[in-house]
């Protein structure tokens, strides 16, 4: 297992603004896996991501990337923030090319690489458009495309669909499901939506306490490719109830 481990957190603790957010937390993500981290809102989920991508350093414990201790992680993890954060003065293809430009590719080379990928993200016709011409769902796809162009196996997705309306959200979830089957990337996904986590993940880590001390692991074994109608299956509903009561149980302890 150690060989194919892409991300490993070992006994990690983190204080942020004088507050203990994470207390000796351990978990790992294996190559090709889609793992969701499910925690109630305001539970420091985004802070965990800032720690994994290197913006914050844990106070104790170790973070491993591809099996090795990684003291500096900036530039080594593909990060898709909650807001799309597209630059309004750059076209879609220019926005997607930013990580490549930072990695040292010339504008021309970066443009060529982006061109090849636009199709897979349903953005081919909008390469020369500016972000304000795109719908929320499409902007998130540009943001994901940008994240995939960083030089890393691991992608961190921080509640990417939380700002979208219901229908667009379902469309984007289905699109992401199909994309994952094609691309086989390793994804750590943060959400507070149980249904979304169940629909997308191979494994769900549920945290129900503050600070986050331990996570309860749920394996999600629905066959892929999945469809959003899965959410009406009895097993799906059952798991959803179970996870909800686990989440609520933890909150009641406080």
């Amino acid at each position: 297992m150690a060989v194919s481990e892409v991300l490993g957190c070992h006994q990690v603790s983190l204080r942020y603004d004088e507050r203990l957010i994470i207390d000796k937390l351990s978990f790992h993500v294996t190559k090709g896996e889609f793992v969701s981290l499910l925690a109630p809102s305001g539970g420091g989920k985004s802070t965990i991501f800032k720690m994994i991508n290197g913006l914050l350093e844990p106070d104790s414990g170790e973070i491993h990337l591809n099996g090795l201790v990684a003291p500096s992680r900036l530039g080594k993890v593909g990060y898709m923030p909650q807001k799309d954060l597209l630059l309004p003065w750059r076209t879609i293809e220019e926005n997607a090319a930013i990580p490549l430009e930072i990695r040292g590719f010339s504008r021309k080379e970066a443009g060529d690489i982006v061109q090849e990928r636009l199709c897979a993200f349903g953005l081919y016709d909008y390469a020369k458009a500016y972000p304000n011409a795109l719908s929320g769902g499409m902007r998130q796809r540009v943001s994901l495309l940008r994240a995939t162009l960083s030089d890393s196996e691991l992608l961190l997705l921080d509640e990417p669909f939380s700002a979208l309306d219901g229908i667009t959200r379902t469309e984007m979830q289905e699109w992401l499901l199909a994309w994952c089957v094609r691309e086989q990337r390793t994804i750590l996904f943060v959400t507070h939506d149980i249904e979304e986590a169940l629909l997308l993940s191979d494994r769900i880590l549920v945290a129900n306490n503050k600070p986050i001390r331990e996570v309860k692991e749920y394996k999600v074994e629905f066959v892929k490719p999945r469809h959003s109608s899965l959410r009406f299956e009895p097993l799906f509903v059952h798991m959803r109830k179970e996870m909800l009561s686990y989440l609520q149980g933890g909150m009641a302890d406080e």
């Binding site: 800032k50 991508n53 290197g54 913006l55 900036l74 530039g75 080594k76 993890v77 990060y79 923030p81 807001k83 954060l85 630059l87 309004p88 003065w89 930013i98 990580p99 430009e101 930072i102 990695r103 349903g122 016709d125 020369k128 458009a129 500016y130 304000n132 011409a133 795109l134 719908s135 929320g136 769902g137 499409m138 960083s150 667009t168």
Partner: protein
């Protein structure tokens, strides 16, 4: 043209975008302005004639136009180039120094702490009162005038650029950091372009101030220039001549402003630009 038909919200957005670019009301604005200008001038002319206002107090527009025509070689051939030169040179120096200092303040925290109080103070000091000091230091020749134009235009540019550089969203900076960007890359790819609109707001204000600066410089002592000519005309109660210089000076300010607005439209990201593709 639109192959991705399932994305309805996108189509809607693009339609809105098109309405923004094709804007028939823009022509109406200009039309109404011309109409109101003609009305104001007519009223002014009528008022002067009907009430027999002495020309040395308020000359009618026709007198001003006559003065402009009669003095055209002197005004446009001799005095205008002088003032234009002072304003342009002063403004250019301010753009270089102002944006340069703003960038330096963003790069070095020490410089920022040292300069920032002056930035606040500069908003309260009447630059007009400082102008004679500058003439004392830099003399009655061209350098003195340029110094006063710099005095008038430096702070709007500094404040605009500094504000713009400061306003880059922290989330954006962090995103760039997670991509492994160094400080130089964050600066050139993120902070500089996002400061550009604020830089241009500052420059547009400064562009109109530069004309005032040049005029004040000439009032304080000169042998040519529109400010000098206007002041001499005022001293001799030649109101039509004075008004003629005022007309030229304000035209100069407007043209400066329009030039920088054009440059802004050219170089700063515009909402409507997306329609240019295809």
């Amino acid at each position: 043209m639109n192959s991705n038909l399932n994305d309805l919200s996108l189509k809607k957005k693009r339609r809105q975008g098109r309405n923004q670019t094709f804007n028939p009301s823009k022509h109406n604005v200009l039309l109404w302005f011309i109409l109101s200008l003609v009305l104001v001038l007519l009223l002014w002319e009528l008022l002067c004639r009907l009430m027999n206002v002495p020309a040395f107090l308020l000359p009618p527009p026709s007198e001003i136009a006559k003065a402009l025509w009669n003095l055209r070689t002197q005004l446009i051939g001799e005095h205008l180039p002088t003032t234009l030169q002072e304003a342009i040179l002063g403004l250019a120096i301010s753009i270089v120094l102002g944006s340069g200092l703003a960038i330096w303040m963003r790069i070095s925290a020490t410089v920022e702490k040292m300069i920032y109080p002056y930035l606040i103070m500069s908003q309260t000091i009447p630059v007009l009162a400082l102008s004679p000091v500058f003439i004392m230091w830099f003399g009655y020749e061209l350098p003195g005038k340029i110094a006063i134009v710099v005095l008038f235009t430096f702070f709007p540019i500094l404040v605009g650029t500094y504000d713009g550089l400061k306003r880059t969203e922290q989330e954006m900076v962090e995103l760039f950091q997670t991509m492994g960007a160094n400080r130089r890359q964050i600066f050139t790819k993120l902070q500089l372009p996002s400061a550009l609109p604020h830089f241009f707001s500052g420059v547009k204000v400064a562009a109109t101030f530069s004309v005032s600066g040049a005029t004040v410089g000439e009032w304080l002592g000169a042998s040519e220039g529109l400010g000098y000519f206007g002041r001499r005309a005022a001293g001799n109660f030649q109101a039509p001549n004075l008004f003629a210089t005022v007309v030229l000076l304000s035209l100069m300010g407007i043209i400066f402003f329009l030039i920088f607005r054009w440059l802004e439209k050219r170089f700063v990201y515009q909402e409507a630009r997306e329609e240019k593709r295809k």
